[in-house]
Symmetry: C2
Subunit: 243 residues, 2 copies
C-alpha cells in the first residue's frame, strides 16, 4: 500500500493510495491515531471512488460518527485502465438492450462477473487499511447501492469482518444466493419506481437476506432519487451496529 497524497478539509483527512494497482481513498478524522470502525463504500456503475456523493457520504460518516471510510475504483472505473473484457461485455449488453432485451438479467450477469474480481480486491484493501494507525482492527461496515449492491452482497457474504451493511437498488437475480449467506444486520434501500430494478426483484432480494435483523426502506421515485434523509439514516444504522 503506497500513499500518494494527503489533504485535509473540514475535520477530515483524505489519504489517496494505491494497493497492487488499485487506486483508493481513505478518509479519517483529524486528530490523533486511534482504532475506529471502518466503512467501505462501493461506488455506482460509471462512478468512481471520488464521485461527489461518495465523498459527501464518507465525510458524513467521519464527522458524524467518528468512523474511518474507504473507497476504491472498481475495475474499468475511475483511474483504473480500460478493461477490454468488461468493455466488450458492456457494449454487447447495451446492444442487446437497444434491441429489446430485458436489462435486469444482463446487469445481474455483468455484476456477478465484476464481483469475482472485487471481492478479493476489497478484502485485500481491508487487510491493508486496518494496518493504518488511524483505523486499526475494529469492526467494518459496508455501504453500497446499485453496482455497489451487486458487488457488495457477495463481499459482505464472504467477509466476516463486515458487521453491518447498507445495500439497495439491486435485485435478486444476481445476488439471492449470496444474500442468503449474510447474517449481519442489513438496511436495504428500495426505490418504489426504480426503472432499472423491477420492484419484485428488489423485494425478493430483501426477502433473501439471511439476517435476523434487516430493514427495508422504500421511497417513491426512480433509481437515482434516494431521499435527502437517507445519509442520516445510514449514519444512525452504523452507529447502532458498529459503535
Amino acid at each position: 500500500m503506497r500513499f500518494t497524497s494527503r489533504t485535509s478539509s473540514a475535520g477530515v483527512i483524505e489519504h489517496s493510495f494505491t494497493l497492487g494497482g488499485i487506486p483508493g481513498v481513505l478518509w479519517t478524522p483529524e486528530g490523533t491515531a486511534a482504532t475506529r470502525p471502518l466503512i467501505l463504500l462501493g461506488h455506482g456503475g460509471g462512478q468512481h471512488k471520488k464521485a461527489p456523493d461518495v465523498i459527501a457520504r464518507a465525510h458524513r460518516f467521519v464527522t458524524g460518527g467518528g468512523f474511518a471510510a474507504v473507497a476504491v475504483d472498481v475495475p474499468g472505473h475511475g483511474d483504473r485502465p480500460k478493461d477490454e473484457e468488461l468493455d466488450r461485455i458492456a457494449t454487447a449488453n447495451q446492444a442487446r438492450v437497444a434491441a429489446g432485451a430485458e436489462p435486469a438479467p444482463l446487469i445481474a450477469g455483468f455484476q456477478a462477473l465484476v464481483a469475482r474480481r472485487t471481492v478479493p480486491e476489497w478484502r485485500a484493501v481491508l487487510d491493508a487499511v486496518q494496518r493504518h494507525g488511524h483505523v486499526g482492527a475494529g469492526p467494518v461496515g459496508y455501504w453500497g447501492v446499485s453496482l455497489g449492491c451487486g458487488l457488495g452482497v457477495p463481499f459482505v457474504a464472504a467477509e466476516p469482518r463486515v458487521r453491518a451493511a447498507v445495500l439497495g437498488l439491486g435485485g435478486a437475480l444476481s445476488s439471492a444466493g449470496a444474500a442468503a449467506r449474510i447474517s449481519v444486520p442489513v438496511e436495504f434501500l428500495l426505490q418504489w419506481d426504480d426503472e432499472r430494478v423491477p420492484r419484485a426483484q428488489g423485494l425478493a432480494l430483501f426477502d433473501a437476506f439471511g439476517s435476523a435483523e434487516k430493514t427495508l426502506h422504500a421511497h417513491p421515485g426512480g433509481h437515482g432519487d434516494l431521499p435527502a434523509s437517507e445519509p442520516e439514516d445510514s449514519l444512525r444504522f452504523f452507529a447502532r451496529h458498529l459503535g
Copy 2:
C-alpha cells in the same frame, strides 16, 4: 369536554377526560401553557387508550419531541360500553374464520364500519383538545397501526389538520380508496411475516397513498413484532414534519 383527573409522572401530565361519552387521555409536558403540535394515537384491536404501548409512545412523544399526545377509546373498547352491533359482527366474523374464511376481507369490512363512527369522533376530539391551553391550534400528527391504521387512513384523508402520519400493519382491502386521497407525508410500517395482513396487501396499501413523500419501513417478524427501534423512528419523523 370534562376533565376527570390529572396526574403527573416523569415530566408528563396525564389529563383524563370524557367528551360526549368518549373517554380519553391527553398527555402534555409539565411546565407552562404553550401551543405545541398534537399527536393523536389510535390504539389496536382489543386494546384501549391506556394500553402500555400507547402510554409508552405518548410519553416518548411528549418528552422527546415536546409534543402533546391524545388517545381515546374506540367504540366497544376500553371504558366504552359494549356495542351490540359491533359485538354481533365480530362474533360472526370469528365463526366464519373458524370455518375457514380468509380473515383479511372480514377485518377490512369491520374496520370500515367502525371508521364511520371514529372519523367524526376523532375530529371532535381535535376540536376540543386544541382549545386546551397546553395544546392550541398547531399542526397535528397521527400514529396508528393495525386497527389504528384501518381507522387512521380514512381519518387522515378526511382531516386537513393532520400534517403527517405513521401508519402500518394494514392492507389495501379496506383502505386503498381513502389512502389515495392522503397527500401528507406518511411513514408506513410493514411486518414482512405478518400473519394477519398478507404481504401483498400491505405493499398495495403503501402503493396507494397519494403522498409525494412516503416511506415504507419493513422488518422481519409477525403482526405483533414491531422492532424496538420503531418509536424513535416515529419521533424523528414527527419532529421533521410537525416541528
